[in-house]
Amino acid sequence: MWRWLHPYAKPETVYHLLGRWLPWVTAGAVLILGGGLVWGLLFAPADYQQGDSYRIIFIHVPSAMFSMSIYVSLAVAAFIGRVWQLKMADWALAAIAPVGAVFTFIALFTGAVWGKPMWGTWWEWDARLTSQLILLFLYIGVLALYYAFSDNRTGAKAAGILAMVGVINIPIIRYSVEWWNTLHQGATLTVFERPPMANSMLFPLLTCILGFALLAAALIFQRMRTEILRQELRRPWVKNVLQVSPTTGEQR
């Protein structure tokens, strides 16, 4: 069943394949996300309860959404790397994790900033907030382990194991936090009660979500290419790739 993957599993092939897609994905990300944000900031109506502060939603919600799905993809990559001994899946950790970590950070930060006008506090030990914070720590842990080893391959394998252990924990964390918080205090601070969203707000939001997805893909592709090169630095094919433009990096 994995046989069909085989020709694609060659680092060189993947490198060039990603290189071919990268410009398109990047262009799409810039256009769609830019459009979505302009739409959201300039044209969407103000919220009748929150006024214009709600416009933070156009970054907060997409980044929060993808912060979690990216972690799942991280674990899937680690699993493939472990079970099918696909080195490149392990390397993908290094491409995926930083993007996920930054998305998580953005969700946290925009949430905190939004919380100040809405809830009157920057930080609250609310279930969602807490689990997002832990998610950030998990990302950083995977990254720290990946780069802690001087031998790239060993680092990739070790981080893969950690990513898998971490993902088993994600639902547990989620559940525990949710449950812990409601026990201690009533639902005074649940993430805001919103009226059913008007289309004039929903459509820019959906555009932004799509834009974030493309952005994540573009970032990951670019990093994956670098990572493939790093891991294969001493292989002959890399010599060809890098010597096309030894100094300027035109070939990127």
């Binding site: 832990i134 720290a144 060993t154 194991i161 525990s176």
Partner: protein, 227 residues
């Protein structure tokens, strides 16, 4: 490959580790005293008001458990790695996961068990209301093995790095958090009079699951580190 050989290797690993730590009989007391001291730090740090103390008691005892697990983590594999024991272990005919289980068990004996034993004293020192005692004990009993197993995974992953505890703690503490929440939540529940057993049962289930899976994760990590 036969059962008895596996068993003797498991006990050999455990006996060796225990002997190294307890060259002297008096060393058995060290983990106990460590926990006592950590727990008695808190009344000093937060002031002795019984109302506050009682409310944070379960949390504090659980934090002490995490710390005692973390403090014992470096010794789990590091010296074995440096002196070549770890590579010999990977070459034994017994499954490495079995030997890893032995390591986890030793870690628990040296960090988890003392806490379980001392829990009543700690509860007394921190003025935990009586209603919470049995639940606290139950959570410790089923929860500390999870700590040991997770610590072993982290320690095995970082053993070849030799970089002090900061990286290790970074990896482990997020994984410990659910445990902390469930456990202190259970005691809280007992204190306010609602049923604590669902959480305790949940912890027990998690514990079993972890003990079943962790040895394999540890074994895989050791193989990665020894390379």
């Amino acid at each position: 490959m036969t059962q008895p050989a596996n068993w003797s290797a498991l006990t050999a690993v455990m006996r060796r580790d225990l002997m190294v730590v307890m060259r002297r009989r008096s060393d058995i007391l060290n983990p106990l005293l460590f926990i006592l001291i950590v727990v008695s730090l808190f009344p000093l740090a937060v002031g002795p008001g019984p109302d506050i103390l009682g409310r944070i008691a379960a949390g504090v005892i659980w934090v002490a458990a995490l710390l005692s697990a973390l403090l014992g983590s470096e010794r789990l594999f590091r010296e074995d790695y440096l002196d070549g024991t770890l590579e010999q272990l990977t070459l034994q005919p017994q499954p490495l996961a079995l030997l890893a289980f032995g390591k986890i068990a030793v870690h628990w004996l040296l960090s988890g068990l003392p806490l379980v034993i001392l829990a009543p004293v700690c509860a007394l020192l921190l003025k935990l209301p009586i209603a919470g005692w049995s639940t606290l004990l139950a959570t410790l009993l089923v929860g500390t093995p999870i700590l040991s197993a997770m610590t072993a995974i982290g320690a095995a992953l970082t053993v070849s790095l030799g970089r002090g505890g900061a990286l290790l703690s970074l990896l482990l503490l997020p994984l410990f958090i659910p445990l902390l929440i469930f456990a202190s939540g259970a005691v809280e529940a007992a204190l306010v009079g609602t049923a604590a057993w669902p959480q305790v049962l949940l912890l027990a289930g998690l514990s079993l699951l972890t003990l079943l899976l962790a040895p394999f994760a540890v074994a895989a990590s050791i193989r990665v580190s020894v390379n």
